[in-house]
């Protein structure tokens, strides 16, 4: 292979912690892989499992879900609800055959710019090693017509 595979990663993050952490990575001028696209939500509690499926349909090779550490949620409990959903959804995807290595979860606070940058780098590397999600890509190709907006 002459050119290395560049995975596409979609990140769904809460605005109060991880989004602010990503901003801090920027203001600290930390450098990380350009493969991630961030979607900002008010809280991890708002992150629906459907978002993950749509990101995959859009061709994402990996997905990151991230929010406030337990106990730090701006909305007090949103991340606790989210954690339960992820636990269950993760097992479901695994059983269906969507490898858990492609869907990552993290807690990143507004102060953890470095953790954010490091995580994006390591996730990009991990998913690069996994290669494209060919099985899903085939399904996407089968649908031909793009999903309507």
């Amino acid at each position: 292979m002459s050119e290395q595979f560049e995975p596409e990663i979609v990140a769904f993050v809460c605005t109060y912690c991880t989004y602010a952490g990503a901003d801090l990575a920027g203001t600290s001028r930390l450098k990380y892989a350009p493969n991630v696209r961030i979607i900002r939500l008010p809280c991890t509690g708002r992150i629906s499992p459907m978002f993950i499926l749509k990101a995959l349909q859009k061709g994402a090779d990996g997905v990151l879900i991230s929010g406030c550490h337990p106990g730090d949620c701006h909305f007090t409990h949103g991340n606790y609800h989210a954690r339960r959903r992820w636990m269950v959804f993760r097992a479901l995807l695994n059983f269906i055959g969507i490898p858990p290595e492609r869907i990552k979860y993290s807690w990143i606070s507004a102060a953890e710019g470095l953790k954010f940058a490091d995580l994006i780098n390591s996730i990009t590397e991990d998913i690069r090693k996994l290669g494209p999600f060919e099985q899903y890509d085939k399904l996407i190709a089968e649908t031909e017509a793009q999903a309507s907006l």
């Binding site: 696209r37 008010p42 990101a55 609800h81 989210a82 907006l149």
Partner: protein, 656 residues
């Protein structure tokens, strides 16, 4: 058809050095639904904002995406600019291509590609934005202060002195709380009642304060600015409107041996009583459980003695409904029951008392008129042992936390004892002396150096009675040897704990509490006086152990929060709240359970005859904080979050 304006900011060189803004503008210009796509050096500058406004007007833009720094920087700036140009501010979104793109990537081409993705995704979102209106919540300008101790009185006075109405509810027959029980106060040793009672009188006579004593909050409904509160007025069996407080009934009451709550059991009271002489209001109540008439149906001595016919045995509890805009919770604390410390002999030996009981002994208005006398035989003790941390900092039997006030009041007790009983000897067993506070360390030094308080660093293991003395065995850990002291009296510096019914009360009011029952603040550091429920504030020791200055400070802080809320007729809030589609809602009410703010209510939809035809969830816009956890739970996709709707996020993902 959407006409979205895309404004790509160079941010000087901050963005433009990495992102090829011209290429970005070209690509986005060709994107369907984009009506204008322009770049500029600094869109946040005055001319930059003017150019955005001009573009909105000239192109009749239906939405705006500013590709620039983080929305946390300038979202408000550009939304305001949009509003000034006649566009609904919520039709403006920020695409973050600085903090999350140009600043974090080295490769210009990759950064440019990423910037295009970010902006395109945001354009797709804005196409589906709704013209939201800020939520206006009317504010009832009347505050409810729950608790008539020093914190509650301070909060009520501050609010009332600013011209707003206050309802002050106290469950005991009189205002005063624990502060009224104290003798002198540290670090100045001024008499507690001398500084407290004028405040009590001021609160009771203030034209803006409606005082409800012997009353309890039964039920709280509603939300910030619009609480509906039900208060139970407990039957006093004395008509307080006609009673003049002459006290004839109290003098005549044959039941004289009841244990006085105010005097912590070391004084006595009658069945018809006021808790203490300076009570406000100074009008008695009848203790139904101990009144001879209520028990035997015979007596009525008080009825005969009353010159104004104020006694009414038929009186019932009454309920008052209040409309309230903001609530200050100042329900105070209790002292831990020391009976758990069997080794200290509390409850077994009459002369082992707690700190609050010592306050009553030392108080000029107390049962001994301020003389330090042993409860057992009324003799003046020649030697007192004080045991600090009797409950505090003891995870095994007491509580894990430090009660904060005991080091200070024990030093004060030792001083008062030295002043009142010349030649009296005090020994204080302590773990640490925590005297942080203005004038506090100086105060404890004074106790040691001038009043010869004998501090012994170590714990007490046992107290027992021998030859009319209380033998106290402990360890002096500094000298590394056991100590035995023969004392006439032992005073335990008991832990401060929440009111026994604090957790139930928290549920009634709708606020959070910690493992002990202290009420939770919204943020320990940055929002220490707000509860997690909007419009409900905390003051005093109901939140955590506090001394008088801290309680007063927090009460004034709460009052300022209330006054800020009352400064406008309407409260304006971001319209990012959940909205439920009642037509498709299945009424499973999982969202009701999941909501961290109790903002979702169960609602019955009735037909004309009043029959329930459907049961659904209903979001209270006053309480909803917009986290969206309900949306994710909703299986039928009925509930949605304004500003982050399912449609918007779907489009953002599919627009990547």
């Amino acid at each position: 058809m959407s006409k979205i304006g895309v404004f790509i900011c160079h941010c000087g060189e901050n963005i433009a050095a990495k992102v090829d803004c011209t290429r970005v503008a070209e690509v986005l210009g060709d994107h369907p639904g984009v009506g204008a796509s322009v770049e500029y050096k600094y869109f946040c500058s005055d001319p930059g904002q003017e150019s955005v406004k001009r573009a909105i007007r000239e192109n009749n833009l239906t939405g705006v995406v500013v590709a620039a720094c983080s929305p946390r920087m300038h979202e408000a700036t550009f939304r305001k600019a949009c509003a000034e140009a006649g566009l609904n501010p919520y039709m403006c979104e920020i695409a973050n291509i600085r903090e999350q793109c140009s600043w974090v990537h080295n490769d210009g081409e990759q950064a440019t590609d990423k910037a295009i993705d970010i902006i395109r995704s945001m354009v797709e979102k804005v196409k589906r934005n709704n013209m939201l209106q800020p939520i206006e919540v009317p504010v009832t300008r009347r505050a409810l202060v729950i608790g008539g101790g020093i914190a509650g009185i301070q909060a009520a006075l501050d609010i009332a002195n600013a011209g707003q109405e206050v309802v002050l509810v106290e469950r005991e027959p009189s205002l005063g709380g624990h502060m009224a029980q104290l003798s002198e106060t540290f670090p100045t040793l001024d008499c507690s009642q001398c500084i407290m009672t004028p405040r009590m009188v001021e609160a009771s006579q203030h034209p803006k304060i409606r005082l409800l004593t012997y009353a309890e909050v039964e039920h709280v409904d509603g939300y910030i600015g619009n609480f509906k509160v039900k208060v139970r007025m407990k039957a006093r069996y004395v008509n307080k409107d006609t009673c003049t407080g002459c006290g004839e009934c109290i003098t005549k009451c044959p039941q004289k041996k009841l244990s006085s709550e105010f005097d912590c059991g070391i004084g006595k009271r009658t069945a018809i009583y006021t808790p203490f002489a300076q009570a406000v209001p100074n009008k008695p109540v009848i203790d139904k459980d101990n009144c001879t008439y209520f028990k035997n149906g015979k007596c009525k001595v008080c009825v005969k003695s009353c010159p104004l016919d104020c006694i009414d045995f038929e009186m019932q509890d009454e309920f008052i409904d209040l409309e309230i805009g903001a609530i200050v919770v100042a329900t105070g604390f209790q002292v831990q029951n020391n009976a758990v410390y069997g080794e200290y002999g509390y409850g077994k030996y009459a002369d082992v008392i707690n700190g609050l009981q010592f306050e009553r002994l030392a108080s000029a208005s107390g049962p001994t008129s301020g003389k330090i006398l042993r409860p057992s035989d009324g003799k003046e003790p020649e030697n007192i042992v004080f045991i600090q941390c009797a409950g505090s900092r003891d995870p095994s039997k007491g509580v894990k936390y430090c009660s904060k006030i005991c080091c200070m009041y024990t030093a004060k007790h030792a001083m008062l004892y030295a002043h009142k009983v010349h030649g009296g000897k005090s020994n204080i067993f302590y773990m640490d002396i925590r005297a942080a506070g203005k004038g506090y360390d100086e105060f404890t030094r004074r106790a040691i150096e001038e009043d010869e308080a004998g501090y012994v660093r170590g714990r007490v293991s046992k107290v027992w009675q021998e030859n009319g003395k209380l033998m106290v065995r402990g360890a002096d850990t500094l000298l590394g040897r056991p100590v035995e002291v023969a004392a006439d009296m032992v005073v335990l510096a008991t832990a401060m704990v929440p009111q026994p019914d604090a957790k139930d009360f928290a549920k009634v009011v709708g606020i959070g509490y910690d493992e002990y029952g202290f009420f939770n603040e919204a943020h320990l550091k940055l929002r220490p006086v707000e509860s997690s429920t909007a419009g409900i504030y905390l003051a005093g020791a109901c939140q955590s152990p506090k001394d008088i200055p801290d309680s007063v400070a927090q009460a004034s802080a709460s009052a300022s929060k209330v006054l800020a809320l009352f400064s406008k007729e309407k409260l304006e809030r971001e319209p990012v709240i959940a909205v439920n589609n009642e037509a498709t809602c299945a009424g499973c009410w999982g969202c009701v359970l999941a909501c961290p703010y109790n903002a979702i209510e169960k609602k019955d939809i009735l037909d004309r005859s009043g029959k329930v035809i459907k049961r659904v969830a209903s979001v209270n816009p006053g309480l909803c904080q917009g986290c969206g956890t309900c949306v994710t739970f909703c299986r039928s996709n009925s509930i949605d979050l304004a500003g982050f709707t399912e449609k918007q996020i779907f489009a953002e993902v599919m627009g990547l």
